[in-house]
Symmetry: C2
Subunit: 292 residues, 2 copies
């Protein structure tokens, strides 16, 4: 199977128009938050945020397949001691465009930014808002099942390495055959709370979110050969992970430096995928998501 990654350099308000209707299976993106990342999209003011995002949301609605899903990672900032309301207003307005607000997942960031203030604690969670075009969307729940209970974990630890390799060589289809007989009873469906630490220490690419985050949603909402879009590509975490998981990916980035960086990283990944010996699972077994 040939996996493609298409990158666009430019403002997604324009670049999105180049994509055909009903062509995307999953949109996973983290737009610049209000007054954040001022160097790229010019620091959108909280009170202008909804107006700025709505035309983009309309394009996203057009390019998404009816069975597809849009996952929006966002969090409102504090202004003048209060949380801004632009995220809630955005959800209400996007519903008027025709989006269905299916669910809100919580990303719990265990290592949230430190600080002490007289009137508030550290903010350690972000929203992952799931939108759909249609009530009938595709969801592969089995792909993100997690081991149940502690004893299951210890037994997994005691498995031989060969068992682990065989296990992990079957991505998307759950666990490997040889242990599936007894592990099957001990898998549970996850919840709508996702525990992941931020990667604040990665020197190569300091991404807004850890790889595990797009990985989880790509597993849940797409299968191999599907197409993933990130209109605010940034350091390209979504696209790189999508490619490693054998999904086609489309990325749009306004900032040339980021664009070229991602381009450079995606080429080796593609060469790697062409070699049948080098699968994502064998070379990077440690990339498995840790969701509790």
């Amino acid at each position: 199977m040939e996996i493609k990654s298409d990158l666009y350099l430019g403002d997604c308000r324009e670049e999105l128009k180049k994509l055909p209707d009903n062509s995307i299976d999953l949109i996973f993106t983290s737009p610049p938050y209000a007054d954040q990342r001022n160097n790229t999209y010019g620091g959108i003011r909280p009170d202008k945020y909804v107006d700025w995002f709505l035309p983009i949301a309309e394009q996203l609605l057009r390019v998404l397949k009816p069975t597809g899903t849009f996952v929006l990672n966002i969090k409102e900032k504090v202004v003048n001691g209060e949380r801004s309301t632009y995220v809630m207003e955005l959800i209400i307005e996007m519903r008027k465009q025709g989006w269905l607000w299916t669910e809100e997942f919580i990303w719990h960031k265990k290592n949230s930014y430190p600080g002490k203030w007289p009137n508030r604690f550290r903010d350690s969670w972000e929203r992952l808002i799931q939108f759909n075009k249609d009530k009938k969307f595709k969801m592969y729940q089995e792909a993100v099942m997690v081991p149940m209970g502690d004893w299951a974990k210890t037994r997994l630890k005691n498995l031989s390495n060969t068992d682990k390799i065989r296990d992990e060589s079957k991505v998307g289809s759950g666990f490997g055959k040889n242990i599936s007989n007894w592990i099957n009873r001990d898998k549970a469906y996850p919840t709508n709370v996702i525990h992941l630490a931020t990667e604040c220490n990665n020197k190569k690419h300091s991404a807004a979110f850890p790889e595990g985050l797009p990985e989880w949603f790509i597993k849940l909402f797409t299968k191999e050969g599907d197409t993933v879009l990130d209109p605010f590509m940034g350091s390209g975490t979504t696209n790189i992970i999508a490619n490693k998981m054998k999904r086609n990916s489309i990325g749009i980035e306004i900032f040339e430096e980021y664009y070229k960086m991602v381009e450079k990283e995606l080429i080796p990944v593609e060469l790697l995928l062409l070699d049948p010996k080098n699968t994502y699972e064998k070379t990077k077994p440690d990339r498995r998501i840790t969701v509790r």
Copy 2:
């Protein structure tokens, strides 16, 4: 110190009018969620929820002290495959009444209700929305501190050079007050994500939330002798915990059976408090909150 608990039997839309202005330090409540508890508040439909709640919110704004806090425990239900928007609309409308939306805490329910749906996972979190009347409200952060992570113990023994450098570069006067913050510190401030299991095995009453939840917020926003209000008392968890923590409490309940049940439970608590040997801390040391 004499601790009182006043219970009102009736509809809080009427009963709240009996309370004086600016008299409450903390309102902690979990109102009937839309389309539930049909026997009491008549099963408020999601599309009528905001209209139903706003007059109550106005009364709450009136009775709350300017330094007080209102914590609203709520979660929107799924209607027709979509999350309802009434909670978001409520926040937006309450701000127009004069409420400040200070923060949104997440209650992560570790043992959420099991279940499986084709297009959705278990819902394991609820909103705890903090409203205030004024930017200057009272908050006793030290009361809810949690044990620090492991690294801190070793770091406290021999402060790293980084801390000294960071300190000196900013303060200039060497390690003075900054270091003293770290000495003798084995606790850290919590975040805005609260981990508590739901109480699934409480035989007497099926409360909307575990005792630890009101306990945490009572610790955080009140001191002994303050007054806590729950206008939707239900099984009285908030009031009973408040009394055990030596806070005055006011509860309003529309359903007589609940009202009498709470009344019966509160009397023994008050007798207990009159005996100087029986303090909350001595008799119930295990009630301390477990938040991670």
